[in-house]
């Protein structure tokens, strides 16, 4: 008698049993609610980015959670610039005032090292969240969730840089003919930076001063992300993995900075001072044919949600219906910033806090949250990109979601090391020096030297280990 005969039967019945079990199983959201009911009457405090972002827990998810479980949600709004500091200060002082946190993934190594974040694996297993975690879009799932193989946060925001362009301008027959005559190439959305420079210059020559080829938010904090993206897309590496010496001053780095500076010539005058809103206004008012930014631009350009009172500060879109969506040149968009939901290690109510974030991040609830008209949370789960509800929001929503999904497959992760802010600060200063007219090579040489000094202070071996595990992630460097 061979047991092997029983194996197919055993497997089949196990599968049948499993299928039956999952047919009866609750969703992660429901499970979270059910488990949380025993904490009814308590309050959990969550730190959230102030302004538009916190309208989600204030107006939607907080009240809903209270209704379902009886747990009060207290939202502590903090400006992005101060979030890291407040979290660290609370942790270091032993005040234990926060239960759940919003954390930018680039901060995770620092916070995890300091011990401020709770390791979430035990809770994920206890409350059965592994499956739904798997369904987060790969780039976010594989890059923004873990440090050293342990889960510290749930990626909750599909921040990615998309290119937005004016379909009508690119589709104009006259312009197409002229461009073809001039360069021999077709006028289409650029897929390389060289194309971008060519197209941008051409459009400005033809259409300025009413419309310029492109504009970007050139203020240092934003341009820093764009530099990180473009540098890697052109083949650059931040460090030499063996020696941990900074290599941002390679020829590629210099070429990127030079190109960025030269591009300003065909952009609206004063583009060096453009921030998020100035760039948005310029695009929505029809002054630029191309731009790169976070996903909200795409929704607001289409007029989605801009009737909401809270979005009344968004300039009226004059280009609804004329906006196309694509990946930025190079095809590997930066997953700039982003947010993850975490639990504070000093929380006095860890299970309740955890259950809240599981619920927020679950398939059902997150789908509703990313569709809120005033939401700044962008689609980040596979199901978001194909949701029929979302697709029906505006005529081009399909193209929009498709582009976001493409981005989520090929996106590049922000540099994330120990004391990332110090490295980022050097880059920000480098950008500001670029706009001030300094020489790109000199700027990058200084920046590389400063990076080396920071690495030396932190400890080369320590940083090398962290960089090594960052560089091993799928979104660290594009597969060339």
């Amino acid at each position: 008698m061979h047991f092997s005969k029983f194996i197919p039967l055993a497997v089949a019945s196990a599968m049948a049993f499993g299928a039956a079990a999952s047919a009866w199983a609750e969703s992660a959201a429901e499970r979270a609610v059910n488990e949380a009911k025993k904490y009814a009457g308590t309050t959990i405090t969550i730190v959230w980015e102030a302004g538009l972002q916190s309208l989600d827990p204030l107006n939607f998810s907080g009240p809903k959670w209270k209704e379902l479980t009886g747990i009060d949600v207290k939202v502590v709004e903090v400006s992005t610039a101060e979030m890291f500091t407040k979290i660290m200060q609370d942790y270091r002082s032993g005040a234990s005032a926060y239960d759940a946190l919003n954390v930018i993934p680039a901060w995770m190594p620092d916070l995890a090292q300091a011990g401020a974040l709770e390791v979430l694996d035990p809770y994920v297993d206890k409350y059965g969240f592994r499956d739904e975690l798997q369904n987060i879009a790969p780039t976010y799932r594989d890059n923004q969730m873990m440090v050293d193989g342990k889960i510290y946060g749930f990626p909750d925001d599909g921040d990615v840089f998309l290119m937005y362009y004016r379909k009508d301008i690119f589709g104009d027959a006259n312009l197409q003919a002229e461009y073809k005559a001039q360069t021999g190439n077709d006028l289409k959305v650029p897929t390389t930076w060289a194309d971008f420079d060519s197209v941008g210059q051409f459009l400005t020559d033809k259409l300025a001063p009413n419309t310029y080829g492109a504009a970007f938010f050139r203020q240092p904090p934003y341009t820093m992300y764009m530099f990180q993206e473009r540098f890697r897309v052109e083949g650059g590496k931040f460090f030499d993995a063996d020696t941990m010496k900074a290599t941002i001053n390679s020829d590629i780095g210099v070429q990127v900075l030079t190109a960025m500076r030269d591009e300003n010539k065909f952009m609206p005058p004063g583009v060096e001072t453009f921030g998020f809103v100035e760039n948005l206004a310029a695009f929505l008012q029809g002054q630029t044919a191309m731009t790169i930014s976070w996903p909200p631009y795409g929704r607001w350009a289409a007029g989605y949600g801009t009737d909401e009172a809270v979005l009344s500060w968004v300039p009226k879109s004059t280009i609804a219906g004329k906006v196309g969506y694509a990946l930025p040149p190079g095809g590997h968009p930066e997953l700039a910033a982003g947010f993850a939901l975490s639990v504070s290690s000093t929380s006095k109510n860890k299970d309740a806090a955890y259950l809240f974030i599981q619920w927020l991040n679950s398939e059902d609830v997150s789908l509703q949250r990313v569709q809120l008209p005033y939401a700044l949370r962008d689609p980040f789960r596979n199901s978001h990109f194909t949701s029929p509800e979302y697709l029906a929001k505006w005529p081009d929503a399909g193209a929009y979601l498709a582009a976001l999904q493409e981005g989520s497959k090929t996106g590049l992760l922000d540099l994330s090391l120990l004391q990332t802010d110090k490295y980022e600060e050097v880059l920000r200063q480098a950008i500001s020096k670029l706009w001030a007219g300094d020489d790109p090579k000199a700027i990058l040489d200084t920046a590389a030297a400063e990076w080396d000094a920071i690495t030396a202070k932190i400890g080369v071996d320590k940083q090398k280990a962290v960089y090594g595990s960052w560089a091993a992630k799928s979104g660290a460097y594009p597969k060339m």
Binding site: D110, Q113, G270, T273, L418, D421, E425, Q429, S432, A436
Partner: protein, 305 residues
């Protein structure tokens, strides 16, 4: 029992009186001192101790590091540059604020229809939160959306694409201008109050003697307003050393670290990057430098008799 009167060089004297008042003088200042001690003492001691330790974002190491942090200060070029930037701004803005404030105080000294309105309006720049003021100036200096370049364009007859927050030649003028705009009203109001207290009988006597404006100013007005003026200068000077919001809103210390003042550098190091011990050492260095300057100023000008 009465106090014996004591005189100082300027002819001022301590208050004479009928009763022993040794307790009065202490009672009336005690609450103030106690409050300042209660809030001020612990942080000072904490910062002092911490400056000798090795606390950073990652390191909770409270072991004694000796003078390592202080030694680091002297090698830190960026620190000394930030002090130079701070000095530059202070040395330019302070005299301008004084002279302009004094002139304005003279302007409003006599009756003027609607003076109440004027003075209330003129105080407005200080009342707007400095953060908001900085952001407003940032918008006003904007090349596209702000009125400054628009106005310049009217005068010049052609568009003036001056990038005030980015161009290295323009950032300091922009910052100094905003600072003077915001705090000249401070000097103005204080000097107005001081000028209003000048002894009228002395002025009348001088007028009868036929003295000219500058003579009267130097001999009568200036000595009279000097106590208040000197303190205003001292306070304003100390505040200028701590200048932060306007610069942060306009340039964030940029381009590069060109407009980084000591406050911005301390903020970036201590607040954003959690170099707790190093920041504490920096703070003490600043206090020592300022104390030396203040004591020198006080002795020279006889502010404390």
């Amino acid at each position: 029992m009465t106090d014996t009167a004591t005189f100082d060089g300027n002819g001022h004297r301590a208050l004479a009186g009928r009763q022993p008042d040794w307790s009065f003088r202490y009672w009336i200042i005690a609450p103030a001192i106690l409050l300042m001690l209660a809030i001020g003492l612990f942080p000072l001691i904490y910062a002092l101790i911490v400056s000798f330790q090795g606390l950073t974002m990652l390191d909770d190491d409270t072991s004694f590091q000796g003078f390592a942090n202080y030694a680091q200060l002297f090698k830190d070029l960026r620190l000394w540059q930030s002090l130079a930037h701070t000095l530059l701004i202070t040395v330019i803005a302070l005299p301008v604020e004084l002279v302009l404030g004094l002139a304005m105080a003279y302007l409003f000294l006599e009756r003027l229809p609607g003076r109440q309105l004027f003075v209330s309006l003129l105080v407005m720049p200080c009342v707007i939160s400095p953060i908001v003021a900085g952001a407003t100036w940032r918008l006003m200096f904007d090349n596209r959306y702000g009125p400054i370049n628009q106005i310049l364009g009217w005068f010049a007859g052609h568009p003036v694409p001056a990038l005030w927050t980015v161009n290295p030649k323009l950032v300091y003028p922009a910052i100094v201008f905003c600072e003077i705009w915001q705090w000249t009203p401070f000097m103005f109001l204080i000097l107005l109050a001081a000028l209003s207290n000048v002894d009228k009988s002395q002025l009348e006597a001088a007028e009868i003697d036929g003295a000219g404006f500058w003579r009267v100013f130097r001999r009568i007005v200036l000595p009279a307003i000097w106590p208040v003026m000197a303190v205003a200068l001292l306070i304003r000077g100390l505040d200028l050393v701590r200048i932060f919001d306007i610069i942060w809103a306009l340039t964030s210390g940029g381009p590069g670290t060109m407009t980084e003042t000591i406050s911005i550098y301390t903020y970036v190091q201590g607040f954003r990057q959690f170099e707790v011990s190093y920041t504490a050492a920096m703070a003490f260095l600043v206090i020592v430098i300022l104390t030396v300057i203040v004591i020198a100023v006080i002795r020279r000008t006889g502010l404390v008799k």
